[in-house]
Subunit: 433 residues, 2 copies
């Protein structure tokens, strides 16, 4: 039976995670009758953020000034936030840092992975990546492969495993595809790569904060991934352009400690002793070598507020409960669209199996995806369009309600049924983020 | 005659730039009786910043959400702020971008410079840098030289010009040395490098906003520098860790346009059409190829407020007036310290000639620099210590008053005369930023 709006209100009433929505500034969203299904692009504003940012601006910067680097903990903010993200990734304290952008961090860790390969298996010359991953990752991999004499192989996602042979240096993969929402099985792929003798670099931009990531698998050494990066402004709710996170397998950082190696973005904060101002670079131990320049403190402070919401989530049922809600929300959306919008030209792109998708659902529409999304946005349902023909809807489990799903589909159905998306003003193409 | 406090109050009363101080939140500084001589490390909080950041947080992020990328101009913020910085560097609109950190930007432009050399003068294999420049710059140069098969030559600042021969690919130089305050003559050095066939990369971290920088010299082609980077959180008052700026000679970007080349940090925002999500990287035209990942919008918004203060400065007398005040402030400080603190072991490190120094003054003290600075800070004069023996004082001309200089020296004299810096608690060493 297709669920009714009342059913959805009942689901919300019985949702033990429902109180988490109060951790976000939803008043201005509600005042616009907005249904925000784009938390996979930019998460909502956490309630704690405005006051915290203001304290950093007026108190820590304006009043305490330069002293804040020590006295207000700016020097260690990258590590402190990293330690709060670590449990979301299934890794330990000291293993995650926040700095720079996802692309810059990917450059760092892929460089490190290629350097390790050059030392251990110099005949491995291939980097395998999914050709449908977010292009920035492919651009960075291409750039590094050219520089370092490796070859980038773009594979279809179904053939990733079959590409892993003794020529492969590194497999670089985004766990949840930004367009389709397809989720890779991390442990299985990490293990397969390791059995083939390759290292694995994961991009967790659409994973962290949506479901429990297990970079260490079940703990067997071969299940532990090698490097990971991810985005701070999607499910982590860090604000527009929030700094990104970076993780490295401690076995690699320990080895880099022994061999005194760093990564090429050797800025001063990655130095063993930045305030000695030595002319020669000595990489810091453990993760600190993955720092580069001075981080943007205001944006870091906002990111910390976003990450802090997960403390409340952990208290209310943990990451598994979050994941269950994500599956329930996305499943409900698929059911409702397929029943209520049948015959309107929408085709499900996201995998139907709940363990094969992230916290988003995508439908393709051959000719009208852009215009339909514009018309839907006009009706205050915010999703986004991804070229060439994808309607993308994200369901951040921290704050999305079941009734939001119902109302969104109701408005989508209206747009499709009345064909209002065929209005010329909706087909005018412009940049959409 | 040594100036009296009354003389200094009179200088302030007659200072046509004095109204600029009102553009900063000085109340909390004054409430602490703080004399802030560290604007060369972290600029004061501009008065407009708190409200603007709050509007970006609550309005643009919290209310407008993802739509802000287009509707509130986030997509073009890097360019918009760059255009406001351009006049401070003597360059035109479209030539400056704000993104990432100074170190990351240096990596981008030095990569580009080395690539141009490889194409034009493959036998040039040396990169010359000043061994006393901020270490982060040396670390980045060292890293790139190793990767690209160049050799980094660290020279003393007096021998820079004599090092320029037909083996030199790039001269990388910070215009104002972070420790000594020594200012290089930009046009003369740029011309000398070009005559020797080398490219010049300038770091303007301690220049931009302190005096008029002329990257294009007097306009002759050989006077125009090649690349530049610089810091947003010093004299530009962008807030802690504010994003950095980057400039390239338009002749180079035009050539890179023709040859379709980019720089290795090839993130999606540097792509010609980021929202086409193409698997192949096509560098954007002109400066846009120097963008990488998504920029931290909250920190960018704060930086814009800092840069906007210069609009008021331009109206009150321009960059030359700012430079004159900087010279007057630093000259006064030198005079007062040398007369009132004579015999106390302080030696002037900064050049005495006003056209050879930036907006800071440094004294060395053989054994006690760290303890003296701690004792001075205890008396609410904020300067900083730079290893191994430097007391560093910055005089941001936008907000520093002549009477501040007098009061600072008065307190410094007390610390030295009473030997209170010999108190054991002041010699305890910790990280100082």
């Amino acid at each position: 039976m297709t669920k009714t709006r009342t059913d959805c209100l009942n689901l919300d009433a019985n949702d033990r995670l429902a109180p988490l929505r109060a951790h976000f500034m939803t008043e201005s969203v509600d005042a616009q009758s907005l249904i925000y299904l784009d938390g996979n692009s930019l998460g909502l504003l956490p309630r704690a953020t405005p006051a915290r940012v203001q304290e950093v601006v007026q108190g820590e910067w304006g009043r305490d000034l330069i002293r804040s680097w020590n006295e207000n903990g700016w020097m260690t903010l990258s590590q402190r936030i990293g330690d709060k993200i670590a449990p979301l990734l299934g890794v330990g304290p000291g293993e995650v840092l926040v700095a720079d952008s996802t692309s810059v961090n990917l450059y760092k860790v892929l460089s490190a992975a290629l350097a390790l390969t050059k030392a251990d298996a110099p005949r491995r010359r291939l980097v395998v990546a999914d050709r449908t991953d977010f292009p920035s990752d492919l651009y960075i991999a291409d750039s590094l492969c050219r520089e370092r004499g490796f070859e980038l192989v773009l594979a279809d996602d179904q053939e990733i495993l079959s590409r892993l042979d003794d020529r492969v240096a590194v497999l670089q993969l985004t766990q949840v595809n930004y367009r389709t929402g397809r989720r890779h099985r991390m442990s299985e792929i990490t293990r397969a790569a390791h059995r083939a003798g390759a290292l694995v670099v994961w991009d967790l931009s659409h994973s962290a904060g949506a479901f429990p990531v297990k970079l260490k698998g079940e703990g067997a050494a071969e299940d532990v991934a090698d490097f990971a990066v991810g985005c701070g402004y999607k499910y982590l709710n860090g604000g527009p352009g929030a700094p990104a996170f970076v993780w490295a397998n401690p076995a690699h950082t320990q080895r880099m400690d022994r061999e005194h190696t760093g990564q090429p973005l050797s800025g001063w904060l990655g130095h063993e002793a930045p305030f000695e101002f030595e002319p020669d670079y000595r990489p810091g131990t453990s993760m600190s070598r993955f720092l580069c320049g001075t981080p943007p403190i205001l944006s870091l402070a906002a990111l910390e507020c976003g990450v802090d919401v997960f403390q409340a989530a952990l208290a209310l049922g943990g990451l598994n409960a979050l994941c269950e809600k994500s599956i329930a929300l996305t499943g409900l959306f698929i059911d409702l669209v397929e029943s209520r919008c049948a015959g309107q030209g929408l085709t499900l792109v996201t995998p139907r199996r709940s363990d094969e998708r992230g916290s988003q659902v995508c439908f393709s529409h051959e000719s009208g995806a852009f215009a339909i999304m514009k018309a839907v946005i006009e009706r205050n349902v915010i999703g986004d369009f991804r070229a060439p023909n994808i309607l993308r809807f994200g369901f951040a489990p921290l704050y999305t309600r079941f009734v939001d799903v119902w109302d969104a589909v109701d408005r989508l159905e209206t747009v499709l049924r009345t064909s209002e998306w065929r209005d010329a003003r909706f087909s005018l193409r412009e940049a959409v983020t």
